[in-house]
Every structure is written in C-alpha cells, then in structure tokens.
C-alpha cells in the first residue's frame, strides 16, 4: 500500500492530469452518445408501447365479450348461437340486395336472380316487386358498401326467430348518397329465411338519419 502511495505522490502531476483527461474524454463520449441517440431506436420504443396497449385493449375487449356472452347465455332469451348464425345469413341477404344498386343487369334479371337464390322469394314477393325497382332506380348505379348493420331480435315464436334490421350503405365514391334500409326477417330453426321484407328510407328521412349519425360520430370524436 505504501508503495502505491509513494509512487502516486511521486507521479502526482501525470496522475492528476491523467485522471482529468479520462474524465473529460468520458464527458465528451457521453455527449456524443446522447447526441447521436438513434431516432429509429426511439420510434421503436413508441411502437412497442403502442403494440403493448393494443394487446391490452384486445384483452380487455375479449374479457368484456366473454362476460357479455355469459350474461346472454344465462338470461335465456334468445339462443346466442342461433342469433349469430342467422345474423350471418341476414348479412349476406342485405349485401345481395344492396349490390343490385350497381348492377349492369335489368330489374327483371335481378328479380329472377334473387328469386332463384332465395327460396323465400317468389315473383310476387314485395321485396322483388316493390322494393327492388325503387331501390335500383333511386341508387342509379351507385356502388355502395355496408357502413353499419344492426340486427335485433324482434320476437321468438316457437322455433321461429324474427329480426328487425337497419342497414346504412355508404357510397364508395363521392358521387352518390348514403342509403338506409329497414328489413324484417324471420328464420326457421335450420337457419333458412322464412319471411322477409325490405324498405328503403325515403330521402328526407335518410337526410335526418345521416345527420343524426354524423352528430353522434362528432360527439364520439370530441369526447
């Protein structure tokens, strides 16, 4: 120990300056490191945070969904699986109906096509005789996509389920307007449609519904 002390004392100056130089070099190095902080590394951090939050959100939503499904199965109103199956069928039907807006075929051809595809429809069905011509005329070839679809159980009679459906169809391009459909559907236990009626919201009603939708969307964006 005393050897070191004596040596140190003898080499005071170079030792002192050596230490100071080292400290200074460390200082410069740390500034250099901080300055060159990799922006890519930082955005990776941000992405990681967002990814983590997305996972948390998915988990929270799944928990909610599970609790909700559990509640539905206990209150024993409608059979959840049946409603889900029927909802798929209904959705397909609504999309088929809506798609006729941009068809290149005639009304008659579309009537035949739908009549063939859906057993519940026949040439005298109001969906084909009243709804379809009016729909194709008022949409004037517009391409529409499903913006919102709400399917609610309207009643259960034995093994038959009835639904009321409201659908919002938005134009794909800016040229045409949003349309609202109101559809009533009944299904039998095997999932086939036993009754169906479709209506288009009249233009003034459509404007009011659209305004209400947009107001609600604004509120959510602000809130």
């Amino acid at each position: 120990m005393s050897t070191i002390k004596t040596w140190a004392k003898a080499h005071m100056r170079p030792l002192f300056l050596g230490i100071c130089t080292t400290v200074m070099v460390l200082g410069i190095a740390s500034v250099a490191a901080a300055m060159s902080a990799n922006p890519v590394a930082d955005s990776r951090e941000v992405e990681a945070t967002k990814e983590q939050l997305r996972k948390e959100r998915a988990t929270a939503r799944q928990t909610l969904d599970e609790k909700h499904q559990e509640l539905l199965s206990t209150i024993g109103g409608a059979d959840v699986e049946r409603v889900e199956r029927d909802s798929h069928t209904i959705r397909g039907f609504v999309l088929d109906l809506a798609a006729t807006s941009s068809t290149s075929r005639t009304v008659r051809a579309e009537q035949i096509s739908l009549d063939t595809r859906y057993e519940v429809l026949d040439p005298s069905s109001p969906v084909l005789t009243e709804f379809l011509p009016g729909w194709m005329a008022s949409t004037e070839g517009a391409v529409l996509r499903l913006g919102d679809l709400e399917i609610d159980v309207a009643g259960i009679a034995g093994l038959d389920y009835s639904y009321t459906v409201t659908a919002r169809l938005d134009p794909v391009d800016g040229g045409s307007k949003t349309q609202y459909l109101f559809v009533t559907v009944s299904t039998s236990q095997d999932g086939s449609i036993t009754k169906v009626d479709a209506y288009r919201a009249d233009n003034r009603s459509r404007d009011e519904l659209l305004a209400a939708d947009e107001a609600a969307a604004d509120e959510e964006a602000e809130g």
């Binding site: 003898a10 200074m24 941000v46 509640l71 109001p126």
Partner: protein
C-alpha cells in the same frame, strides 16, 4: 518558486542521495517526504508536486466534463420517449381510452337477474310508449282541419306521459307524434276515445330480447298498416329504434325513419 518540471527522474526512496537541485543537504538516513501538491513553499522544485498551471488545466477539464455529463443527460432525456409526435400521442391516448371503456363496461354489465328484470320492464315501457303514440293517430282529422298545424294543447297530456321515458339528451320531438297517416284525416272522429279511432296504421313494438355489451337493450317500434293487401305482410310505414338503459329506465339514442311507402302516405304536420 514554482517547479515546472513534469518529467523529473523519479527519486529512489531508498537512495540516501538527495535529488538534484536540493538547496540543503539531508542526512542520508532520513527520508524526505515529498510535498503533496500545491505551491512549493520551500521554494524548491518538486517534480512530484502539482503546479498551479496543472491544477488549473485539470479543473478546467473536470468542469468541461461535468458540463458534458449534464448535456448528455439532458439530451438523452428529451430524445428518449417524451418527444412524441401528435399522431402517436393521440393514438396512445385513444388506445388507453378504449381499454378503460372496455374495463368499465365489463364492470358495469348487469347481473343475469337484473338483466332479465330489465328486459321485462323494457317491454312494459316500450309497450306503453307505443300505446301513447297510437293515441296521437286520432288527431289526424284535426291537423287536416287546421291546415297541417298541430295545436300543442292537443298533445300536452300525451307529451307529459311520454317525457319521463326519455333522458334530457333526447330531442323533445320524440314526445310528439312520430307519424300520422294522410288517409286518417277522413276517418270519422267516432266517440272521441283515441283507442276507438279506426286508423289505417298502428305502432307495434318488438320484444326486447338481448342486452348488448354496454348494458343496453335495443328496442324497435314499427308503424304498420292495419289493413294490408290480402295475403301480404302489412307494409312498414315508419320505424323508431332506441336503446333502453336498464339502470336509468330510459330510452336513448332514438332514431326515426320513414320508408318510401310511409313517406308517400304521411300526413305532414307543420307546427312543431
């Protein structure tokens, strides 16, 4: 006298020989301790000491490096994660909001018993609302007689009964007639009781069957014609949808729609 010698030959501690340039001579047996830095008060040059110049240089270097460290900490702190772009900050905020909303909804989901009771009450309330709206149908002749205006005095009582079912957030027009039928204007007034009025349409309500993930029960009323074309389902003239909140026993998010057929047959009411 300040020694400016930095590279002196090291003194051999065991050597009895004094280092060069010593002013006085020490006995060979005595060891001479070197000065521990600072100014050489003895006036001699001590190669082991730190001169003032050295100290100053050293201090400057230390201060410089302290500044560097502070800068480094400062820069790395701000270049780290705090500097978020607006888009990122907004996305993170809304993600957190979504998580919170889902957790709160899961928390507030009603128990099965409350849910079932809620659905029963929802149907009762919705049926009552349908009855009250049906009472409005008999006003059609009076509206026609008044050239399309509806005297508020005629709707006062029914409005009063309807109001409690809707929270303040719902527009007051929900308590006024949702739909009136043109052909009803020529129906005889009958004995004056609303329910005996032979209207061409009536409001019916769907049975609320489910509760959604937010604890609300969707309800829909339909205005259907009372005398449909033979063999066909009654035409839907108008519809109203709402969400029933079982905790507040009110209907919110009320949306009214009129079908093309309904619009063609609707009796316009001017005064609102």
């Amino acid at each position: 006298m300040v020694s400016d010698k930095v590279a002196d030959t090291p003194a051999d501690e065991t050597s009895p020989e004094p280092p060069r340039r010593r002013v006085f001579v020490t006995p060979s047996t005595r060891e001479v301790p070197a000065e521990a830095g600072g100014i050489d008060t003895a006036g001699g040059e001590e190669p082991e000491e730190l001169g003032i110049r050295t100290v100053v240089v050293g201090v400057v270097m230390i201060v410089f490096s302290l500044v560097c460290f502070v800068l480094a900490i400062g820069t790395s702190g701000s270049a780290g994660g705090v500097q978020l772009s607006d888009a990122n900050a907004q996305e993170i905020f809304s993600l957190r909001e979504d998580i919170n909303a889902a957790e709160v909804a899961a928390e507030e989901l009603p128990e099965a018993g409350d849910a079932e009771r809620g659905l029963v009450i929802a149907l009762q309330s919705a049926s009552r609302i349908a009855k009250l709206q049906n009472d409005y149908r008999s006003l059609a002749p009076q509206v026609a007689a008044a050239n399309g205006t509806l005297d508020p005095a005629l709707t006062a009582r029914t409005r009063q009964e309807l109001t409690p079912y809707f929270p303040p957030s719902v527009d007051a027009s929900v308590t006024r007639p949702w739909y009136l039928l043109k052909s009803d204007t020529s129906v005889p007034a009958g004995i004056g009781i609303p329910r005996s009025f032979d209207s061409g349409f009536r409001w019916i309500v769907d049975v609320p069957t489910t509760i959604d993930a937010q604890g609300m029960a969707p309800v829909t009323w339909r205005a259907i014609e009372t005398n449909p074309v033979k063999g066909q389902e009654p035409t839907v003239l108008a519809w109203v949808s709402a969400d029933y909140d079982i905790t507040t026993s009110t209907f919110s998010d009320v949306r009214e729609g009129t079908t093309v057929q309904g619009a063609a047959r609707e009796l316009e009411v001017n005064a609102r």
